[in-house]
Amino acid sequence: MSSEERHGWAEALREAGLGETEARETEQVLGRLAAWRAPAPTGADTAALVSRLQAVVAAPPPRKAPIQSELTIMLAAARAQLMVLPLTLWLGSAVVMVIGVALVGLGLDPSRSLVLYLVGPTLAYLGVRSGFRGSALGTTEVELSCPATPRQLVIARLVVVLGYQVAAGIVLSLPIWLWNQTAVFAVTADWLAPLLLAFGAALVLSLRFSVSAAAAVVYTAWMLVVLLRLRLGGPGVSFGVDLDAALGAAGLLMLGAGTVFLAHGAPGDAALGRSSRTYGSSSA
């Protein structure tokens, strides 16, 4: 054992909080572990590895992709998502929205806001669970080799999922608007603001935690807020148009921030390795 290695251990053991005597005794113990030699690759081993990896080296990407080509890639990725995203997302979202509109239309929502406040985050939960990260869709291996970056794919999915839910929500809200023409914006804000807020918060959280955990935390937190408001304020749970608009804006900001951080190697990018479900795909 070289003195350099011992010096390195001494410093490391100090960092571990060991006293001098304890560190010396631990070094002797570590010496036995150090005697377990890890195999060193030969020159031929390394050359063979390099040879196998040459096929993986990608063609040089353009240094500054023109905006038009980046949009083209994302549009193509968005079209592809229509085939990849599960049927449960489309049907589930539609069912949730129809139920919400029906309950409001039948007058079962005492404040016209409670049901709508619950609809938005439920849609977001469905969308987040279905749309974030390829691991939920079983497409991680494919994503790793396709030209679109993870960030482009997330944006494409967000556009498709969020776009669908917002468009469907607006269409299904028409009957409510017709019943109460003076409350168009208020009705829309009641379901749209929590939807955007939940999506944004889930995206930001999913950069640090798993997608499932992020979706569950956001959904649960919002439910608790609504229930608390119901308990404290009675049937009139509405936050008001102004606060709804602020919540929606906060959601949009978080969506923007989340996609920016995704581009700059957030911890979630290690999920390129972590999220793979098929380790055994690496044949020599």
Binding site: G8, W9, A12, L13, E15, A16, G17, L18, E25, T26, V29, L30, R32, L33, A34, A35, W36, R37, A38, P39, A40, P41, D45, T46, A47, L49, V50, R52, L53, Q54, V56, V57, A58, A59, P60, P61, L144, S145, T149, P150, A263, H264, G265, P267, D269, A270, A271, L272, G273, R274, S276, R277, Y279, G280, S282, A284
Partner: protein, 175 residues
């Protein structure tokens, strides 16, 4: 790495040569001495690296490389195959005194096997921290970057890992 990401194939060999030995050694000890598995994981690490589009030139390469490797080990351990605990490797390479006799070498091999078993008993997150700090000369900050954990967590894992390792290595051998 930037050159490789731009498609410069000639930059690949030096990149691999620089890290192959250290990476193989790390993965070998992480997967309980399975050489074939370690080789596969090394290759898979580089493949994931080369396919990743998220490298930025200012990013430190070595922690990122070992981050991918560590995540692959965790994925493997979660898989049904990964849960099989390998027996103490009979074909271990050990550093033994050339002048010692066969009995001394056999005893040294037993001691090393015990040490390896003690390391294997550590939870993967402690094992990774101990190996990176003590055997791969990573700084605490580099370990924090590689394992995506705060610096304080690195220190506590190092402390706990070293103590557990020592306790297990000093425990009486099983009959």
């Amino acid at each position: 790495m930037s050159a490789v990401m731009n498609g410069d194939r000639s930059a690949l060999a030096p990149l691999v040569e620089r890290h192959h030995s250290g990476l193989l050694g790390y993965l070998y000890r992480m997967v309980q001495g399975d050489r074939a598995l370690a080789d596969d994981l090394v290759q898979e690490t580089y493949i994931r690296l080369l396919r990743s589009r998220t490298y930025s030139p200012g990013r430190r390469f070595k922690p990122w490389l070992y981050a991918i490797a560590t995540n692959l080990v965790k994925d493997h351990m979660r898989s049904p195959v990964g849960r099989t605990v390998l027996a103490a490797p009979q074909m271990m390479e050990i550093a033994a005194d050339e002048a010692s006799g066969p009995e001394e070498r056999a005893f040294a091999r037993l001691e090393v096997a015990r040490a390896a078993a003690a390391l294997n008993e550590l939870a993967p997150e402690y094992r990774a921290t101990v190996l990176l700090r003590l055997f791969h000369d990573f700084s605490l900050q580099e370990i924090a970057d590689a394992l995506s954990i705060p610096l304080g967590t690195v220190k506590s894992r190092l402390s706990v890992g070293v103590k557990q390792l020592r306790q297990r290595m000093e425990a009486p051998a099983e009959q």
